[in-house]
Subunit: 143 residues, 2 copies
């Protein structure tokens, strides 16, 4: 029956994290929409900013079916944001990467995201920001 005294505090913590999640999602969705992109397309570009994944990697990363990724890539490729290349190591695989144009767009949105999300921390001083980042890193650390 959960008589753990910190159970109520844990509920509040999860609620706060979920609340923050929806706030951030709203900002990112709007930035995507300003550039005629869905949140999913924005995420694809964000991943490609630092990686050259195969279709299967993208599917795993986003938690979507590979057929869904095919469609997303089709539309982004048609718009000139990214391109496909057959893998040299495995001729079945297809690597996905940003075009120069896609990289510029991605960088612009990345900067917009920072510009628009930073005000969320206006009430935190330097020590509190550092503390928050350290705690989030602990939460996100890969096991």
């Amino acid at each position: 029956m959960s008589s753990n005294p910190s159970a109520a505090a844990d509920i509040a913590l999860v609620d706060a994290l979920v609340h923050a999640t929806f706030e951030v999602t709203g900002v990112l969705s709007r930035i995507g929409a300003d550039n005629d992109l869905s949140l999913t397309q924005l995420r694809v570009l964000g991943i490609l900013r630092e990686r050259r994944p195969r279709v299967t990697d993208l599917a795993a990363h986003l938690g979507l079916d590979k057929s869904t990724i095919s469609g997303l890539i089709d539309r982004a490729e048609r718009r000139g944001h990214l391109a496909r290349a057959r893998s040299e190591q495995d001729r079945r695989a297809v690597e996905v990467f940003l075009t120069a144009e896609g990289r510029e767009l991605t960088q612009r949105m990345y900067e917009a995201a920072h510009r628009e999300l930073l005000p969320m921390f206006a009430r935190l001083d330097v020590d509190q920001r550092e503390s928050l980042e350290r705690l989030l890193d602990l939460v996100l650390r890969e096991e």
Copy 2:
């Protein structure tokens, strides 16, 4: 040219928050999918858990067009999760609320979300959890 010495730290902080956002979104999406619901439908039910909003309120809350809300409500109503009622105060408006069945489903998913998100904090002790919750509350405080 941003020679602010804490600019780099702020970038890392925003990155961490965005990363956490996608982690949480992934968990919530999976819980929704387990119940044959999109993330948006899950959010609608989550809002109705504590409110009886009008269609326009839902649209504002979710950042979606009212026509999109109409469709979401249609499908959820057809499945018996929620219902519509004409407002008494304003005969143009429509109030949306959970059915008993929808409330049970929502509660089950709410509990699943806590059960699955809580392990994210496994590396934090009680003081750190309290600290994180306080900082998130500061970030989320409505002005």
